[in-house]
Symmetry: C2
Subunit: 203 residues, 2 copies
DNA sequence: GTCTATAGCCAGATAGAC
DNA sequence: GTCTATCTGGCTATAGAC
């Protein structure tokens, strides 16, 4: 419907497709709705992207390409584990507040088709734990942090940062809070999550 | 296909529907596949459950009814916060290892249709944070644990326990591990997650 | 490049025999 | 209760005019 500021048709399609696919998923999305949101005709979708599958893949790859660099930041820079956790948590939650559908979308579609990630792993920017592992083990040796498996620490960081944005309706229902209160909780987490993790591992 | 030990048709349908809906989701599921898995005809599905929507709701409610008591355990018994966290973490991860699709299914379908949870909230067994909040605040006052908002602690407990089972393909790819190694990591988490949380909050 | 019209298929639901 | 056959609608995709 709204053309916002997409210069060309191809871009307005991709933008509309992003909205529809990320909220409805591949199976729930309808080409007609994407066409309507892009303000063009259904036939144009096929003219530019050949098929629903290919349009979906374009959206998915874009979404993943936004997420991956955020992770690489925590995995591959040279700051201390503590600084990494603080920076990552703050940056990442800010990032997701701007793209709230993104993590649930990626997770849902990977669960639907796990082999999809094999293609992504080919890319050289694909996140990798090797450097992070060495650093964790080094800081344990230096008695800077308590013993912990790097994989478990990594899972914990991911979980604490991402989960609330994936399970939003569940959390709002259990905590019995409205949208405004939920958003405030998420803002607070920018610092609270980092403190929580660091409290747990620092000596 | 396999009838396992479903006495009657209705049950074998529900069981087949559970498998298909939980792995494909509402939109991706096909009535034909459910019929095949139940070893009966497509028309029978409608005879017993009238529509795809109603069959789905039966599956969803069953799934949620399995999950809720697990949460109520941590929220409403009288043990200390520390004991609750240890018990919950161990029990919950054991539970999900037996039902690996369950959390992703519930979260995905609630994201697809968030208003669905309003109906669930009517049920008297629906998890509620009030008692847990009071207990957290009391233990903070008694200097047993560090100051933390009960909602944030609750989110953290949920996140650390549930997230890896929701984002399994992502974690396996990032950590570059196979299925066997992943399962071992999850078993280890039965104790590691509780230690991680308690380390963070205890004084 | 953009549109209308329609082909072709597939899935959910129903009718009706047994 | 269980089946086969079929209706009906909706969806992706394409043909073809402009």
């Amino acid at each position: 419907m709204a053309k916002t500021k997409d210069e060309n048709t191809e871009n307005s399609i991709l933008n509309a497709a992003k909205n529809v696919f990320q909220s409805k998923g591949m199976d729930g999305a309808r080409m007609q709705e994407i066409a309507d949101k892009a303000g063009i005709n259904k036939a144009m979708l096929h003219y530019y992207y050949r098929s629903k599958q290919l349009l979906f893949e374009a959206v998915f790859k874009n979404a993943f390409a936004l997420l991956a660099p955020q992770l690489n930041k925590v995995l591959n820079d040279d700051s201390s584990i503590e600084d990494k956790i603080r920076n990552f948590t703050s940056n990442y939650i800010s990032f997701i507040i701007k793209h709230p559908y993104l993590p649930a979308f990626i997770i849902q579609e990977l669960n639907r088709n796990p082999s999809f990630i094999l293609k992504l792993k080919q890319n050289k920017g694909f996140p990798n734990l090797e450097k992070f592992k060495k650093q964790v083990n080094l800081e344990i040796e230096q008695k800077l942090i308590k013993p912990i498996h790097a994989e478990q620490l990594f899972i914990n960081i991911m979980a604490l940062n991402i989960f609330p944005f994936v399970a939003t309706p569940l959390i709002k229902a259990f905590a019995n809070i409205n949208d405004k209160a939920f958003k405030q909780l998420m803002k607070d987490r920018k610092e609270e999550v980092a403190d929580f993790i660091i409290n747990s591992i620092k000596i």
